[in-house]
Structures are given as structure tokens and as C-alpha cells.
């Protein structure tokens, strides 16, 4: 069996990192831009007490943007990816419980959200899409080494030789 070379794996990781960064930056920005709609989207899940719905509606877009920025910069990639994975699991669980309880909502994943007509739910697509994003996060948790990352730049500065080193375990710790 031929193992893909390190540069190839780095390239795959870079695409995963930038892709996931784009997802969070776009979804966070759309949510932040419309705070009223974001609150309605959170309320539609009907899982949180009112006070917490407010907190989540304010915090979620900002958390998404922070994750997006960290991934874009490639800073603390493994931790950011792990946090992204955790968040995606929570979001998928939220969508799944709405589906299971027979609510008719739009996930509001990329802005919008709230109640929709019964025939207009898209739970399977939404869960599938988020699962795809989660796989990107899994890749980066397992192998956070990528091109064009602050992590890599910092690791080089630490004296791990100029080239992206062969032992990337140290880089993963970089935060």
C-alpha cells in the first residue's frame, strides 16, 4: 500500500482548514448581522430556558467567528478543530432533536432559521452537511499540520529545522 506523501497530506489538511474556516466565518457573520433572526432561530429549537436562549443567540455567532479566524490563521489548529467538532456535535444534536420531536424548523445554520411549514424542513440535508463539516474537523484534530499556518511558522521559529519537519507532533501542541 502506498502511503500518500506528507506534502499531499498537508495539502488536504490545508484545504480542510480553510474550508472549515470559511464555513464558520460565513455562518458567524450571517448570524451576527441579524441578531433578531438569530434569537428567533435559537428559540425555535425549544430546548433552552429563555435567559439562556438570549445568551446563546449573542454568543454563538461570536464563537463561530473566533473559530473561523483561528482556523483561517492556522493558530492552535488542533484545539480550534476540536472545539469546532464539539460545536458541530451540539448543533447536529439540536437539529436531530427537533426532527425527532416533530418540530418544523429551519436550522438557521447560515442565518435565517425559525419555524417553517411542515413540508419545508430539511433535516437530513442539514445533518448531512454538518456531518461533512465535522469530518473536516476530525481530520484537523488527528492531523493538524497544514501549509500556510501560524502554527507551522511558530514551530519553525522554535528551531524544529527550517523545512516543515517530519515530526509534526510538536506543532499540534502549538497554541
Amino acid at each position: 500500500m502506498v502511503r500518500p506523501s506528507q506534502p499531499v497530506l498537508n495539502t488536504v489538511g490545508t484545504l480542510a482548514r480553510l474550508g472549515l474556516a470559511a464555513v464558520w466565518l460565513v455562518s458567524g457573520a450571517l448570524k451576527l448581522a441579524d441578531p433578531g433572526q438569530t434569537l428567533i432561530a435559537v428559540q425555535a429549537y425549544e430546548v433552552l430556558p429563555d435567559a439562556l436562549e438570549n445568551v446563546v443567540a449573542i454568543a454563538l455567532p461570536l464563537v463561530e467567528l473566533v473559530l473561523g479566524l483561528l482556523l483561517l490563521a492556522g493558530l492552535a489548529t488542533r484545539w480550534a478543530a476540536a472545539a469546532a467538532l464539539g460545536l458541530l456535535v451540539v448543533l447536529i444534536a439540536g437539529i436531530a432533536q427537533s426532527w425527532a420531536r416533530g418540530l418544523s424548523i429551519d436550522c438557521g445554520c447560515f442565518g435565517g432559521g425559525g419555524h417553517v411549514a411542515a413540508g419545508q424542513t430539511e433535516y437530513p440535508q442539514e445533518i448531512l452537511r454538518d456531518t461533512g463539516f465535522a469530518l473536516l474537523a476530525v481530520w484537523l484534530v488527528v492531523r493538524p499540520r497544514t501549509w500556510l499556518s501560524l502554527d507551522g511558522w511558530l514551530a519553525r521559529g522554535r528551531g524544529n529545522s527550517g523545512e516543515p519537519g517530519h515530526d509534526y507532533s510538536g506543532i499540534a501542541e502549538g497554541n
Binding site: 434569537l39 449573542i58 483561528l70 413540508g119 419545508q120 528551531g159
Partner: protein
């Protein structure tokens, strides 16, 4: 040599670390402040009474009966029922689009309108309660003979769903600005006098099969705005719906 590089690497790490913390903190603090101020932007605003275009003819009456307000001249042949919520965005669209035509038809003595204020979205403001507060205040304005002016001003400066509505003090202020002088108005707004009746009427409206619309996907139910004429729902998306009703 390796020593020196290690030292400069540590320094870089610090700089990047501090830079990242600063950027993240600025984003989070700025984001929270912006979000809250955006949500609460109606706070301290004076609702513009001047946006009301309703120059109603002298013999147009505005009469409250329970929680329904009838606006029109005696002897108008056609009549419609409008079910709306002051927070509902599509109701705002409906008002913007047809307010002029409806009020013209009222002035011409062709049309009577029965306005039903429905607190459908009472949970959808932050804090909740604007739908009911505004509906109650509109009924109080009807008692003072200024319903339509009050109604039009609220729709013209409609707050957004998920955000702060207007509080009772702002609604009372608007009442004064549309010309209500009776002190009973403020009392009725503050006491929420008609809230119970509004909720009861809303339940009946929600369960009325004649008011149920088809939302597609096998889902039917009541939604706002709903317009009926002669007991059946009018499709107001048709731009000529009103002339069809008034003939």
C-alpha cells in the same frame, strides 16, 4: 545558534499569542455590545406620529366593539376583516402596500374595515410581550377615537421580530402625539385592560376553520395577515383584490 533561534521563536509565540488574545477579545466585546445595542435600538425612540397619512374624512367613525375596531362610514356597502399583529413583518408589508387604497375606500364611503389585533407573535420580541402591549394600546386608542392614526404609526415604525419592541411608556407617548388627551388612555395601556379579551379572541381565531390557510405540505392553520371579505379569505397578493371587494 539553536539557542538564539529558540529564544526568538518563544518571542514570536508570545507576540502571536497576545495578538490573538487581543483580536479575539476585541471581536467578542465589540460583538456583544453591537448585538445588544442592535437588539435594543428602539429604546428611547419616539415613535413618529407624522408617518400617519390617514387624513380621515370627518364622518368616518372608529368604533371599538370588544377587541375589534370598526373603521368606516355608516352605510358603506363592502366590508373586510383584517387580522394582523403589530410585530408581524408581512403585516407591515401588507400595510405599506395597501394602506393608501384601504383608507381611500374608507373615505369614499365604500368600505368598512374591522381590525382584529392578534397577539400571534407575543413571544417573538425580546423581551416578549410587544404584540399584546401594542394590541391593547391600539384598542385604548380606539376608545379615544384615534385608532387608525395609532395603528398606522406603529406599522410605519415597526420593530423587528426577535428585537425589542416599544414599551408601554413609548406607546403612551405615541398616543399623546397622535392627539389623545384622555388620561384613561395611559391607564388602559399600563393596566393591560384588554389583554385577557385579546388572548381569548386569539384562541377563537386560531381555531376558526374559516380562517385557516393552506401553508403547503399538508399544513393548514391561521397566520397573519389574514384578510376576509364576506366570510372567506381574500388573496391580497392579487394587486386588484380591493377593487374586487368594493366592486
Amino acid at each position: 545558534m539553536a539557542q538564539a533561534r529558540g529564544a526568538s521563536g518563544d518571542k514570536r509565540k508570545w507576540i502571536i499569542g497576545i495578538g490573538a488574545v487581543v483580536v479575539v477579545a476585541a471581536l467578542v466585546i465589540g460583538g456583544v455590545i453591537w448585538t445588544i445595542s442592535e437588539r435594543d435600538k428602539t429604546e428611547g425612540q419616539i415613535i413618529d406620529p407624522g408617518k400617519t397619512t390617514s387624513a380621515l374624512a370627518g364622518n368616518v367613525t372608529q368604533k371599538r366593539d370588544g377587541v375589534v375596531v370598526t373603521v368606516g362610514k355608516a352605510g358603506a356597502k363592502a366590508s373586510i376583516d383584517v387580522y394582523a399583529d403589530f410585530l408581524c413583518p408581512i403585516c407591515g408589508v401588507f400595510e405599506k402596500q395597501y394602506k393608501g387604497q384601504i383608507e381611500q375606500a374608507i373615505n369614499d364611503g365604500k368600505l368598512q374595515v374591522r381590525y382584529h389585533m392578534v397577539p400571534l407573535l407575543n413571544q417573538r420580541s425580546s423581551p416578549p410581550g410587544y404584540s399584546l402591549d401594542s394590541a391593547n394600546a391600539a384598542l385604548a386608542a380606539a376608545d379615544a377615537g384615534k385608532f387608525l392614526q395609532f395603528h398606522d404609526a406603529l406599522f410605519a415604525s415597526q420593530p423587528e421580530e426577535g428585537k425589542r419592541g416599544y414599551d408601554k411608556a413609548q406607546l403612551i407617548e405615541l398616543g399623546k402625539n397622535v392627539g389623545i388627551t384622555d388620561p384613561a388612555f395611559a391607564q388602559t395601556v399600563n393596566a393591560g385592560t384588554y389583554e385577557q379579551q385579546l388572548n381569548t379572541a386569539f384562541q377563537q381565531i386560531e381555531n376558526d376553520p374559516k380562517l385557516a390557510q393552506d401553508f403547503g405540505g399538508g399544513q393548514t392553520g391561521f397566520g397573519t395577515p389574514t384578510v376576509t371579505a364576506n366570510g372567506s379569505i381574500v388573496s391580497w397578493q392579487d394587486p386588484n383584490w380591493l377593487t374586487k371587494v368594493t366592486g
